[in-house]
């Protein structure tokens, strides 16, 4: 894995002006129906996620969303680093810090920025990684989730 990877970030064409610039990317009012549908699609049976009456009587006083629910909020992706490389892009993964659960009835506001762009050349060619950081807070400004989403571009003809 760690065999002779070379940092080639300097050679990659992308929009460096957006690095670190945080913008608001929208808000989403979370409904109980959305949480229940999302949880059902995952085969979730925890009453905190699928039984509104039970969840209201529980420790959070409301239906709470499963941890990865932030992914389905309809908010924008934020600034685009416009990486000019490769033939294909794909989601390479996520790093996420969970601060508080998202609850039904909350309005979640999201802010996003391009956190980092870097490129490596290794045994399988060059890959360019773009890391976008999104923070999700509720209507009272309480932080819920900090997400780093990693997108990779590569040239599959290499």
């Amino acid at each position: 894995m760690a065999d002779t990877e070379v940092d080639v970030t300097d050679t990659i064409d992308f929009d460096r002006s957006v690095l670190g610039v945080e913008v608001e990317v929208g808000s989403h009012e979370v409904t109980a129906d959305e949480i229940i549908a999302y949880a059902t699609a995952l085969g979730e049976t925890n009453p905190l996620h699928v039984d509104e009456a039970a969840a209201k009587a529980g420790p959070y006083g409301a239906l709470i969303a499963p941890p990865l629910f932030y992914n389905v909020l309809r908010v924008g992706a934020g600034p685009d680093p416009k990486v000019n490389f490769g033939t294909t892009g794909f989601d390479a993964g996520q790093h996420v810090e969970f601060v508080e659960p998202i609850k039904a009835g909350e309005t979640i506001h999201a802010k996003a920025k391009v956190h980092n762009v870097y490129a490596k050349t290794g045994r399988t060619g060059t890959m360019v990684f773009a890391v976008r950081r999104t923070t999700f807070s509720n209507q009272n400004g309480e932080l819920k989730v900090v997400l780093d989403r990693i997108n990779v571009r590569r040239d599959i003809r290499q």
Partner: protein, 142 residues
């Protein structure tokens, strides 16, 4: 749900497996929440085929949500999922069997939080790792 306590766990302990076979219907329900309406590799077999897949695929974060479920169903009501760091290595499709597992790699008390670090992964029915990474869970003390 029974509660697991910090004193009960140690390095090398395994959690799971949580075995799931997401259906097309579950994917459609999931995509109904995510929405957008634009045909994609997650909603349209035609689009998926045009991109080189054999049919629709699962969003990476849908499979990752099952890894999260492995952790939340293990930690108990008093535990807390603190973080996840997951790499998406292979795509998964409806009908695939996803085996979600974890193994404890570290335990430490930092700032009065009982932190349990785990390696977590999803294997498909061929035994290939589709996703893998790490997670940190906070467990209560007895």
């Amino acid at each position: 749900m029974t509660q697991v306590y910090f004193e009960d766990v140690s390095m090398g302990d395994e959690i799971g497996p949580l075995v799931k076979t997401p259906t097309r219907e579950q994917l459609d329900t999931f995509m109904g929440v995510w929405g957008g309406g634009v045909p994609s590799r997650f909603t349209s077999d035609d689009v998926a085929r045009s991109e080189g897949f054999t049919g629709v695929i699962l969003p990476g974060h849908m499979s990752m949500a099952l890894l999260a479920q492995l952790l939340t169903s293990w930690k108990g009501a008093q535990g807390k999922l603190k973080s996840m760091d997951v790499n998406f290595r292979r795509y998964l499709q409806p009908g695939d069997t996803l085996t979600c597992k974890g193994v404890i790699t570290d335990t430490a008390t930092v700032d009065r939080e009982n932190l349990v670090t785990l390696d977590i992964y999803i294997e498909n029915q061929k035994g290939e790792r589709a996703q893998q990474g790490t997670a940190v869970v906070i467990l209560p003390s007895k």
